[in-house]
Symmetry: C2
Subunit: 412 residues, 2 copies
């Protein structure tokens, strides 16, 4: 038993195979939630689950589960999961690594003939990316009881489709109520999607918490006027005001010692003409911090700044909240188990904060949870250049295997 | 003769009539250069020129002239002009007031039976707005010899059309070489398109110079990365760098005592996603100043700032020059004649700088020129709300009449 090892070739082969499902004529990988390509990806994963001897189950929001019934009647399962939907023009590791890594661990255990003390479930949650339907992490949010399933099924997508109808169309509107398998604990293996592990040369991240996320859309209304004939002192320039918010956020956040990050990713000017002072600027603000009090303080500081700015620039400013998730603290015992498993494999690890949102943050509402990160080359994700070396992928799955053994009583 | 007066009702009626030509189903006025609606507008103006007894002539770039042959053989004509092409969803005064005001003055003189000492020409120049074909002020630029006519005719429009083909299609590709009538002097009557005259309660602007214009497109390339997982210190945020340019320009220009104006009217982020650090920002810079040395100093200051910024932010910055016109100084004697004419009508006037570009700046290359401004309500132009009161429109045309009389030897 001490030489129990995951099948790295099988894991990598499945990652590659899944990564070929959903490529368009130009080779771009896109599997938006509940689309035809998502169906094809789900079919492949469900097939592999059955190959591994698992029972495939689907809940009403389309979350896909491969269940290994084990342990005493009624024992709560250990859940391993992530998602297989992707962004547009995606890489092959984001989410898929957690689903297929979990499956690889389960299959390894089954092939070794061990008997875990409780069921183990491999989960692929619906619409984690949020590209087609909002919010992101929708399937795990519903599963954890944070969003009513019927409300979620009625969600209208960016393409005008209804999520529930699309799930039925692709054959993944299952019979089970979300939450029907209440986990004993949840583990998610994932690529870091950031530069920290690579930069520090550390192969394993023991993720101890996850940043809170605040998304807002800010709309600034000024007055369009001729760029040549309007003196600087008589302008109500919405674009100028927007630029001041962008620099304010960076100067404030980068000047503190806190791990807060602030990003303005979307920006649009109207009328967007070279010789017209912008009458309107619309932009997004993405604020994240692992500490709820600090995140709230940053939101408050922004709100105060916008008030002052509106008065100073003669513009009106409105703010719409797009998303808000409190920071999540993962289970200290599981985090420690991850560190110990890494050490047992001779792998350096470091505790870290997840900067991205993950299904784990939702499932953490209903059970102890933690995540294992592996390095992302160049910190790049949501991009075809997303890459993690084969040895690093195998190392992460090996650590997961050991933590699963510990949590299911499969002694070495 | 001393009671020679323009026919205000006729002028206002023609402005209204021309302003109805080119309205779409929603009542929006758009007459882009060399379009079908431009043809209809030209047909109306040419008809009014003929009604006034003028000979209609068209040059190869489509500039439309109504010629009153007068004075000794070979005498250089006094030219009065502007343009009748419009922006999208335009007002009715911009340009049209100069053409129809000039026509009104000529018709008034003809009806009075006077004999000017030289020909008088009313001109409507092609593609002043530059919405469909670049550059703006194209017709007058070609007329003044600043752009080769064949090169100009080959211009591809924003809709993929070729200017020369469109002019031929609408019947306004004339036989005359641009510049065939070399003016003795040029006068352009125009709405201010800015707030100064209205704010000061002055009805007549004696425009003594015109700002130099520098248009640049700046492209900043950074690195797209995850908004949650990339520490602030590891970012190469193209949007952040762009915002810093916007605030730099305003702080520098507004902090000086010079009349320089700086505007960032266009802005686009890529990939423009809420949770992705912008990899690219593209924006325009519109810099204007009536003094060439100061305009050049502002351009140099921006270039130095961009160099420093690229180093500080870890981004690459490229700059493309879109347009550059040196400031224009109008003819002091004509400017003085405008002031005197205003005073003779009991109208206050002030010397001023034109913040916008006008055909006059091109024609000033080949003859003495000046402009007369009337107030724009709220400083608004390029907008359906563009408005100048009837009495102010008549006052401007009356001042033009007197200056024309002075320049053509028609004594009061």
């Amino acid at each position: 038993m001490t030489d129990l090892r995951i099948n790295g070739a099988r894991l990598l082969g499945r990652l590659q195979a899944l990564g070929e499902i959903g490529r368009d004529g130009e080779g771009r990988l896109t599997r938006l939630a509940a689309s035809d390509t998502d169906r094809a990806g789900r079919d492949a994963v469900a097939g592999w689950m059955r190959d591994a001897g698992l029972e495939v189950m689907v809940d009403r929001i389309g979350n896909l589960f491969g269940v290994w019934q084990a342990g005493p009647e009624g024992a709560a399962p250990l859940m391993l999961g992530s998602h297989i939907d992707t962004v547009i023009n995606a890489g092959i590791y984001d989410g898929c690594y957690g689903v297929l890594g979990g499956l690889e661990v389960v299959q390894t255990l089954r092939e070794a003939g061990v008997q875990p003390a409780r069921p183990i479930v491999v989960a692929a949650f619906t619409n984690e990316e949020g590209v087609r339907y909002a919010p992101d992490m929708l399937g795990s949010l519903v599963y954890a009881g944070g969003l009513d399933v019927d409300e979620a099924l009625a969600t209208i997508g960016t393409d005008g489709t209804v999520l529930g109808e699309e799930l039925a169309r692709i054959g993944y509107a299952g019979p089970h109520e979300p939450g029907f398998l209440r986990p004993h604990a949840y583990l998610e293996l994932h690529i870091e999607q950031g530069p920290v592990l690579e930069r520090e040369g550390v192969p394993i991240g023991a993720v101890e918490n996850l940043q809170g996320i605040s998304w807002q859309r800010v709309t600034i209304d000024g007055v369009a006027n001729h760029a040549g004939t309007t003196p600087m002192s008589m302008r109500q320039d919405a674009g100028q005001a927007a630029a001041r918010v962008v620099t304010f956020l960076r100067d404030r956040v980068a000047g503190s010692n806190a791990p807060t990050v602030a990003t303005v990713g979307c920006m649009a000017f109207e009328p967007n003409a070279i010789n017209v002072i912008p009458s309107r600027a619309v932009f997004t603000v993405d604020l994240r911090d692992p500490d709820e009090d600090r995140l709230r303080a940053e939101e408050d500081a922004l709100a105060r700044y916008l008030d002052d700015l509106a008065a100073a620039e003669g513009v009106t400013i409105s703010v719409e909240r797009l998303a808000r998730f409190a920071p999540v603290t993962f289970d200290p015992a599981i985090v420690q188990a991850i560190e110990e498993a890494a050490a047992a494999h001779g792998l350096r690890s470091r505790r870290m904060t997840s900067g991205a949102g993950h299904d784990a943050q939702m499932i953490a509402r209903i059970c102890p949870a933690a995540m294992i990160f592996v390095p992302s080359a160049g910190g790049i994700s949501h991009n075809p250049r997303e890459h993690t070396a084969a040895a690093e992928l195998e190392a992460g799955a090996s650590v997961l295997l050991d933590v699963v053994r510990k949590l299911t009583g499969v002694s070495p």
